[in-house]
């Protein structure tokens, strides 16, 4: 069953066509990776799905509803959560507060001017629970004191707190030390399986994509170059020539 669909998406920046008539269908309960070399348009495409950019043409359909023009904050109310490639947290707030805010966002408690936040126990409990899932325990630490890997985990926790059905992850392992990557992937996989969630991720790191995905879409020059299972993509000649060849030859690129 389809959960998210892009129909003929096109995005122009001035004269540059970053995304060119992309069609994509994502099945519920699967992990779907979008890969491509630098400048392939995958981040732009991703931002069209999250609502950060509005497409020049085309539509985005979520659960049968046209969400192309919906603002960012409304999408999260529909069950779409996103993470960011560049770590995007609330730096001068505690881990607890970072995640608690995400839990509160969709709850209808936002306009209780006279209520003390500390008395809203359900959001605190939810925050502690989610932080435990991603493996962060020092909940009273300030977010900016975390090491990079910890910030990536916090990013994931913020996303999970709202319990989204569809998770859009923008390079979840970006900038992480390679020995930390498997742990994070395992966490993502666990979240996807146990919550029966749909995960769409844009990735650069080939190993991540091969291990975790059910479907892979390869983008090149703003278009879809190939689509299929990880094994099919790995043996695809065109893909190898434009993408795998380049990257697999560069050790340490991941």
């Amino acid at each position: 069953m389809t959960i998210l669909e892009a129909r003929g998406l096109r995005k122009e920046f001035g004269g540059l066509v970053a995304v060119d008539e992309v069609n994509l269908t994502i099945q519920r309960g699967t992990t779907h990776a979008i890969i491509g070399p630098n400048g392939a348009g995958k981040t732009t495409f991703f931002n069209l799905l999250t609502g950060k950019y509005k497409p020049t043409r085309g539509t985005v359909i979520y659960k049968g509803q046209d969400i192309t023009q919906l603002p960012v904050y409304r999408r999260s109310h529909l069950g779409i959560g996103r993470s960011f490639q560049i770590t995007n947290i609330f730096p001068n707030l505690t881990l607890l507060e970072n995640v608690r805010l995400a839990s509160q966002a969709l709850s209808g408690d936002n306009f209780r001017f006279l209520q003390r936040t500390s008395l809203l126990k359900k959001h605190l409990d939810r925050a502690v629970q989610v932080l435990a899932i991603v493996g962060l325990t020092d909940v009273y630490a300030f977010a900016n004191t975390l090491p990079h890997g910890g910030k990536r985990k916090l990013e994931l926790a913020i996303l999970l707190a709202a319990d989204p059905e569809l998770l859009l992850l923008d390079e979840p392992t970006a900038g992480m030390a390679s020995e930390q990557v498997p742990e994070l992937i395992e966490t993502i996989r666990k979240i996807q399986r146990e919550g029966n969630k749909t995960v769409v991720l844009v990735e650069h790191n080939m190993n991540v994509v091969m291990n975790i995905s059910d479907q892979i879409t390869v983008m090149h020059l703003g278009r879809v170059l190939a689509e299929g299972t990880p094994s099919a993509i790995a043996s695809d000649k065109t893909v190898q020539s434009v993408y795998l060849g380049e990257l697999y030859d560069l050790p340490g690129k991941s």
Binding site: Y73, I89, Q104, L106, L114, L120
Partner: protein
């Protein structure tokens, strides 16, 4: 009930102590200096002479500046919205209350109460409207927009014949019980009450779920949106409340000086709360209050002083601006997070030190 009271006292004992001190202040000064807290009677009128009433005026001014700085801090320190137009709400409310008292012919008491209500309501709506048309602008662009609006009002009232242009007009219809030249002590307690209300209202708001969103917007607006907050709504709430609080400060200012003029709308009434907030400690509850108190005491005590070097006598007021600038630069260098921020940082370091020792 009693346990809650004890809990409150334990948590807030310092605040209660300060409030008690401020309540007793006019009488403490009176007892100390042998003056009357009500001024001196002259026939059937009072003359505001003596140390107690002089200090009451200084303190009322501090309360006004503290309210203004706290309202500024609500926007800038807690929500991260930088505005250069705060004087607009302050000054406009002064004009509203002045016009109500002097130009409507209503009974003094009714005009006063209506004026206060109108000043706060109109400025709240104005803040909301300014926010609606301009809060989509980010950072410094919003700041410039608010500056432009405030300067427009400044220029308009500087030429508006009805309010006597740049001369302004004096208030002659303030009800006698609130008249700063007759019953200054009433105004003292009204201003103190408003200051206390503002402090605790902002604290309550910031510690509420709504306030948590304010801080999230300050920290990272994009992220706040992506987890589902319509950040514009929350910024509008912040600017509306801040402009209403600034309006109440403007009302008090006009009642204290009994004078309305375009200088109320001047850039100084934006810059002062900004500097007080930064020096006192941005994004803290006590910072703006400490900043307002410190700067105003400095202003009233040093400005009139003279320095004699040999045979030359220097008047501090001649180079006051220069001195103030130097103080700001020094304060920002010594207390980069403001007085309160630096204090918290030092205390945290001390706790770490004692824990590790």
């Amino acid at each position: 009930m009693t346990t809650r009271l004890i809990e409150n006292l334990r948590e807030n004992w310092l605040y209660w102590l300060i409030i008690l001190f401020l309540l007793a202040f006019p009488f403490l000064v009176a007892a100390q200096t042998g003056s009357s807290p009500f001024g001196e009677p002259r026939g059937d009128r009072m003359v505001m002479r003596g140390e107690s009433v002089r200090w009451q005026a200084v303190m009322i001014e501090i309360f006004i500046l503290a309210i203004l700085a706290m309202s500024y801090n609500l926007m800038f320190g807690f929500t991260g919205v930088l505005s250069f137009g705060h004087a607009l709400f302050f000054g406009l409310s002064g004009y509203i209350i002045g016009l109500m008292l002097e130009y409507t012919g209503l009974d003094n008491g009714i005009a006063l109460i209506l004026g206060i209500g109108l000043a706060i309501a109109i400025n709240g709506i104005l803040g909301l409207l300014i926010g609606l048309v301009s809060l989509r602008l980010k950072g410094v662009y919003f700041a410039i927009f608010t500056l432009a609006v405030a300067e427009m009002a400044f220029i308009f009232f500087g030429r508006f014949a009805l309010t006597r242009a740049e001369d302004g007009f004096t208030l002659t219809h303030v009800p006698i019980w609130l008249d700063a030249t007759q019953n200054r002590i009433t105004l003292y307690y009204v201003a103190l009450g408003m200051g206390i209300f503002t402090f605790f209202a902002i604290r309550r708001l910031i510690n509420s779920p709504t306030g948590a969103v304010f801080k999230a917007i300050r920290e990272n607006e994009d992220r706040a949106q992506s987890i589902g907050y319509n950040t514009l709504t929350f910024k509008l709430i912040a600017i509306t409340i801040a402009s209403m609080l600034a309006a109440s400060a403007g009302v008090l200012q006009v009642l204290l000086n009994k004078k309305v003029g375009p200088e109320l709308l001047g850039i100084g009434n934006t810059v002062d709360p900004l500097l007080m907030t930064i020096i006192g400690g941005i994004g803290s509850f006590t910072g703006p209050v400490i900043g307002a108190t410190g700067l105003h005491l400095l202003d009233t005590n040093i400005r009139e002083a003279t320095i004699t070097i040999g045979s030359t006598v220097l008047h501090v007021s001649d180079f006051w601006g220069l001195l103030l600038g130097a103080i700001f630069i020094l304060a920002v260098m010594v207390f980069p997070q403001g007085v309160v921020g630096t204090w918290i940082r030092l205390r945290m370091r001390w706790q770490k030190f004692t824990k590790s020792a």
